[in-house]
């Protein structure tokens, strides 16, 4: 998947999980757990939505790689 599509998919998924976050305000370096205030259930839901929309499965071992918005986009682009 190219990065553009990956970014859209990530923004859409975040829109579902954290509806109060404006996609335009999304800083690439924002940490999902701390800065966007996603707790463990939100994060799991995010992983689930990404899997549903892009087919990309993120195993638990790879969670550290997707800790930021950019990290997630890169991961989805690479595996999508």
């Amino acid at each position: 998947m190219n990065e553009q599509d990956a970014r859209h998919a990530v923004e859409a998924a975040l829109g579902k999980v954290a509806p109060d976050v404006e996609p335009g305000d999304l800083d690439g370096g924002a940490r999902l757990r701390q800065d966007l205030e996603l707790d463990s259930l939100d994060f799991l839901r995010l992983v689930e939505v990404i899997a549903e929309s892009t087919g990309v499965d993120i195993p638990e071992a790879d969670y550290p790689a997707v800790a930021t918005v950019d990290g997630l986009v890169t991961y989805v682009a690479r595996h999508g």
């Binding site: 954290a18 509806p19 109060d20 757990r33 701390q34 205030e37 707790d39 463990s40 259930l41 799991l44 839901r45 992983v47 689930e48 899997a51 499965d57 993120i58 195993p59 638990e60 071992a61």
Partner: protein, 477 residues
């Protein structure tokens, strides 16, 4: 308007989930109610056909105000049940937790003679009344917030009589007016024809039945006896003043939801700190076994059924609570009532600020997978503001888990009338000494805030230690 929590005084219907003519069973969701804290779906405690709505969407009314009428079937609306007319006296006093208890036991506070100071209705009075549902009580209607008398069903052949002339009774039936809700101006409080005519239109009446949200916490057999049987006649309403209970408009309708929620939380927390002598304990949980087990289990699971550490911590807490009942139950009017079931309140942070702590019912009996599913569903609905009455009213013990957001430990403030709150901090890898060797393990700090009127450090310590023990055998959770 059901009581959806010990501190709730009024509520507002924001959506009807049924319409007149619908047939509802006990437990069917009938309305969405906005309290200061959140929107909750409430269920019908009665079976029958929805006859009419008694409040408008957006009206704020006191707890106990009838909001809808359900009749047995449309063809079977019997003549109005016979009860004493309301006496226009000032109301019987009962504090919110007693009213809440009365409500869950299906007892009309307004009908109980209070044995407390100044005629105040006490918890014992309510329980006594619940045990004998057909007893009529001396004082007249509580003007205002008397919860519904689901158990006082006069149609079952008691000795309550509405004094009225036959003409008045016939008029009442023809006009669809509820005799029992009319203050009689005739001799001895009898309802006259003029009273009936003055009582039209029905909207202003306080007629027969409301929808009590009735699922009481498991506090023993009393609630079974007090449950309203599916009766032939509509259940009697506690009589309100003749003018009916006009919905209070404009109360707390201004201001954002977050602000009212904040105020409600603040009031509850202040009360907790004033009334409950808290003591605090903490322990560091050894989560090596639990995390290893969980990670291994998750590798073989699809995303949708992955577990999070919270699920294991919650399950262990629920099981420990079953074994240490001093942590699980309610303290009301000077006495502790342990709960037979463990309904674990889960503190959920709302994204716009504020906290709700709805219940995972019977958490000790759920498998980890069930608990995980229910937890996700509960949290999702809590954030969307669509919780059910039973979820808000029933927690017997609450857990707050701020570890997700990075703090190492959290000492919660107990939600009255509960008697304890468990806190979990962040799961961290820490150095750990074992058998003279140093290694790294996953740990988390578990804390307990508990009510010193009910338990002491020994019991509290036992409870926390048990949580730790249970987490050493994650496969058995």
């Amino acid at each position: 308007m059901p009581s959806l929590g010990a501190d709730m005084e009024h509520g507002k219907v924001v959506e009807w989930l049924v319409k007149p003519g619908d047939y509802v069973h006990k437990g069917d969701l009938v309305a969405a109610v906005d309290t200061d804290k959140t929107v909750m779906d409430i269920e019908s405690f009665q079976e029958g056909v929805v006859a009419e709505f008694l409040v408008d969407i957006g009206d704020t009314v006191d707890v106990g105000t009838p909001i809808a009428r359900i009749t047995a079937t449309p063809a079977e609306v019997p003549p109005p049940a016979k009860v004493p007319p309301p006496e226009p006296e000032p109301g019987t006093k009962a504090p919110p937790p007693v009213r809440h208890l009365a409500h869950t036991l299906g007892v009309d506070v307004g009908r109980i003679s209070g044995s407390g100071p100044g005629g105040e209705v006490t918890r014992a009075d309510v329980e006594r009344a619940a045990a004998t549902p057909n007893t009529s009580a001396a004082p007249g209607a509580a003007a205002g917030a008397a919860p519904a008398a689901a158990a006082d069903v006069p149609a079952e052949g008691e000795a309550h009589r509405v004094r009225s002339s036959p003409l008045a009774r016939r008029l009442a039936v023809e006009l669809g007016v509820d005799l029992q809700a009319i203050a009689g101006t005739g001799p001895g409080g009898a309802v006259t024809e003029e009273d009936v005519l003055a009582a039209v239109p029905p909207r202003e009446r306080a007629p027969k039945e409301e929808i009590p949200g009735g699922r009481p916490p498991s506090e023993g057999a009393a609630e079974e006896a007090a449950e309203a049987p599916p009766s032939e006649a509509p259940v009697a309403e506690p009589p309100h003043k003749a003018a009916g209970e006009a919905p209070r408009r404009g109360r707390k309708d201004s201001g954002s939801k977050a602000e009212t929620l904040r105020q409600a939380i603040g009031a509850l927390m202040s009360r907790s700190k004033k009334e409950i002598p808290h003591y605090y304990l903490s322990t560091t949980l050894d989560l090596a076994a639990a995390m290893a087990w969980m990670q291994s289990a998750n590798q073989q699971r699809p995303v949708s059924s992955r577990l999070v550490p919270s699920a294991l911590l919650l399950k262990a807490t629920a099981l420990a609570a079953k074994e240490v009942p001093d942590m699980n139950g309610f303290f009301t009017r000077g006495a502790f009532q342990p709960s037979g079931a463990v309904h674990l309140g889960v503190a959920v942070a709302l994204r716009h600020g504020g906290l709700v702590a709805p219940a995972l019912h019977d958490a000790d009996t759920l498998t980890l997978d069930e608990l995980m599913d229910q937890l996700r569903d509960l949290v999702g609905r809590a954030r969307a503001g669509r919780l059910q009455r039973a979820e808000m009213a029933d927690p017997t013990l609450t857990v707050t888990n701020l570890g997700d957001l990075g703090v190492e430990s959290v000492y919660g403030v107990i939600y009255p009338p509960q008697v304890a709150m468990v806190g979990f901090g962040k799961v961290l890898e820490q150095p750990w000494a074992h058998n003279g060797m140093l290694g790294i393990r996953h740990t988390a700090i578990a804390t307990l805030s508990a009510d010193h009127r009910v338990s002491d450090g020994l019991r509290g310590g036992r409870f926390l230690a048990r949580i730790d023990e249970l987490l050493q055998k994650p496969g058995d959770l």
